[in-house]
């Protein structure tokens, strides 16, 4: 057990470390990181010339970990997400370096991504309002995702699985919602449907690109809470892409602060947010409008389901 502790404690960013004591996990991996990114470079070919959007970044994600890339617009954080999923058009983006999903390198073997995307790794996009087809029901789109992963399932069994997935993302009356169209659901509910579709592939890694930026803060709390619970229950790894330091602080194990295609600072979230070393990180933190302390009654807080995640500070009495 001690060896495991040390391995996990030193896992921060080193691709060579293992995270489990050689025991096979549910995914069949033996301590291989879910994702290993090494010296990734992405150049985008634009009318204005070739732009190096991502300039040599390195990180790893292990089971049960949330790794967050924080950056402002133009930092290269979303390009990183799209690049590692090989979703950038080949003619417009030149990628080099290493991107391994459980040991399979999708830079060296671009076609390998076909079997990984939607299975080993799923994407949760930013805007739930435009991510679904407006002319098909939630059920049809979810069942389609289920059957892509499990073609052997009968129609009825696939539908049952779809209902189960909607339950998992805490959508009330899941069976009834199957016949709803996207326009009939709120943004928060749609993002839950998107997460259900992402889970249909039974991924070991979720890439969440600003998953709550289009949502109200109270709705955001519920979605982040859901993602953390899913992670707690299944050990799914999460690559979170966000501009929001508050979101990063809430969900992350490790964070990477990205600027102009490079990581300017990285480390445990508490350390980076609590004691930032880099000037840019400090400036970012200083720019966040603060709210100061308030007299929150912890009992009142427990009554509101959406607030559960954000009550942490009151419960632990931490106001640093």
């Amino acid at each position: 057990m001690t060896a495991t502790k040390i391995a996990a404690a030193t896992a921060g960013g080193d691709s060579g470390t293992t995270n489990a004591a050689g025991q096979p996990t549910a995914t069949g991996a033996t301590g291989t990181p879910l994702l290993t990114v090494a010296d990734l470079q992405i150049e985008l070919i634009t009318e204005a010339g070739v732009i190096r959007t991502v300039d040599g970044i390195t990180f790893t994600i292990h089971r049960g970990e949330t790794v967050t890339i924080i950056g402002e617009s133009g930092s290269g954080k979303s390009t990183t997400a799209m690049g590692i999923l090989r979703l950038l058009p080949p003619g417009l983006a030149v990628i080099s370096g290493t991107v391994q999903f459980q040991g399979v390198d999708v830079i060296a073997e671009p076609r390998a991504i076909e079997k990984i995307r939607g299975r080993t790794v799923s994407l949760i996009p930013q805007d739930p309002m435009t991510a679904l087809s407006p002319v098909h029901t939630i059920g049809r789109q979810l069942v389609e995702a289920v059957r892509l992963r499990r073609p052997e399932l009968s129609r009825a069994a696939a539908t049952d699985r779809a209902v189960h997935l909607l339950e998992q993302v805490r959508i009330p009356h899941p069976r009834r919602q199957l016949s709803s169209y996207p326009y009939q659901l709120s943004g928060g509910m749609l993002q839950r449907v998107i997460i259900a579709i992402a889970l249909a592939g039974e991924p070991v890694l979720l890439v969440a690109d600003e998953p709550t930026s289009a949502l109200d803060v109270t709705v955001q709390a519920g979605i982040l809470d859901l993602l953390l619970d899913l992670q707690e229950n299944s050990g799914v790894g999460i690559l979170m892409i966000t501009h929001d330091l508050g979101v990063a602080r809430l969900v992350s194990d490790r964070v990477y602060v990205m600027r102009d295609g490079r990581f300017v600072e990285s480390g445990e979230v508490e350390q980076v947010v609590g004691e930032p070393r880099d000037d840019y990180t400090r400036a970012l933190l200083a720019a966040v409008p603060t709210l100061g302390s308030w007299d929150e009654d912890p009992d009142a807080g427990a009554a509101a389901p959406a607030g559960r995640s954000a009550t942490a500070s009151a419960e632990t009495g931490e106001t640093r």
Binding site: M1, T4, K5, A7, A8, A11, N19, A20, Q23, T25, A26, G64, T66, E72, S73, D216, V217, T218, Q220, A221, L228, D229, Q231, E232, N233, G235, H243, D244, L245, G246, A248, R249, L250, V269, V273, L284, L285, A287, V288, P289, T290, L291, G292, S293, W294, D295, E296, A300, G301, A304, A306, G307, S309, A310, T311, A312, S313, T316, T319, R320
Partner: protein, 291 residues
């Protein structure tokens, strides 16, 4: 006691829906004093933007009074509104959609000057250049078009355009929501400076409590078309009473004061559902120990 610049009294706005009407704003009242800032917060759909659009009379309210310096503008027609429009200006949320893409920054800012009665072309150009300088853009910006600017720069042009009419009240509807946090901080600082120099009043409409707190002395919290809480910003944010305000306060993720949930999640990792295997627990347990 002098009369506040803006008094909104019993404002009601109904929108037509297929079978009847939807009351978007329901009996909303507040005042904005000269040179001061009122914040309006609430979740999407609470009616805050409809209030903003009523005050600048982009729509006609169903009932209620909107007194601008004592004159009720709630039911005035377009011709009657004309001379009053310059007094209240709006800065919109979307810095990409609210500027004419064909005009240069200078022309965008100069346009309202024509309405203000600046007759000479040179006079308008000079005043537009002064305003563009005031909002912190270089003189090289004058002849560029909106597409050539970043989001923050466009929002500065939007502010310069609003200022061109010499308004007494500026309504900012989520004016910094689309901006990066560091750019947002710069725009908020610009608004603060302008207010200190010109004694302009603001209405800051936002879903972001932090943004509202930074600028507003007073705050109104809306939910489902109604005002659920109002008062001095410090009091409302320190001791919120309404359920909605408390929920907003609780959900706000302030990285400087909050604590992450991840360590707690890992502590609770012992409570795992039956579908997880014993092997699953190991990495999590190790990570928990690593903290």
């Amino acid at each position: 006691m002098t009369r506040p610049f803006l008094e909104v009294d019993g404002l009601v706005v109904d929108y037509p829906v297929p079978h009847g009407t939807f009351r978007a704003v329901d009996n909303v009242s507040f005042t904005v004093a000269r040179g001061e800032t009122l914040g309006i917060v609430g979740e999407s759909g609470c009616g805050k933007s409809t209030v903003a659009r009523s005050i600048v009379r982009l729509l006609t309210p169903t009932a209620g009074r909107i007194l601008v310096d004592g004159t009720d503008i709630a039911r005035l027609n377009e011709r009657q509104l004309r001379p009053l429009r310059s007094r209240i200006q709006m800065v919109f949320q979307d810095p990409y959609g609210s500027l004419d893409p064909h005009l240069s920054a200078q022309d965008i800012v100069a346009e309202p000057l024509r309405l203000r009665g600046v007759r000479s072309r040179n006079g308008r150009a000079a005043e537009a250049a002064r305003l563009i300088d005031l909002v912190g853009l270089p003189s090289s910006a004058l002849h560029r078009r909106p597409a050539e600017f970043s989001g923050g720069q466009r929002q500065r042009i939007g502010i310069a355009r609003a200022l061109a009419s010499r308004p007494e009240l500026l309504v900012c509807d989520e004016a910094t929501s689309a901006l990066d946090v560091s750019v947002q901080a710069q725009v908020l600082e610009l608004l603060r400076q302008i207010q200190a120099e010109t004694h302009l009043a603001y209405m800051i409409i936002s879903h972001n409590l932090g943004v509202v707190r930074q600028l507003s002395r007073n705050i109104v919290v809306m939910s489902e078309g109604k005002v659920v809480e109002s008062g001095a910003t410090t009091d409302v944010l320190t001791s919120p009473r309404a359920q909605v305000t408390r929920a907003l306060r609780r959900a706000a993720l302030d990285p400087t004061t909050m604590r992450g949930r991840k360590p707690r999640a890992m502590v609770r990792a012992g409570t795992r559902p039956p579908e997880a295997t014993a092997g699953d627990a190991r990495p999590e347990t190790a990570q928990e120990a690593a903290r």
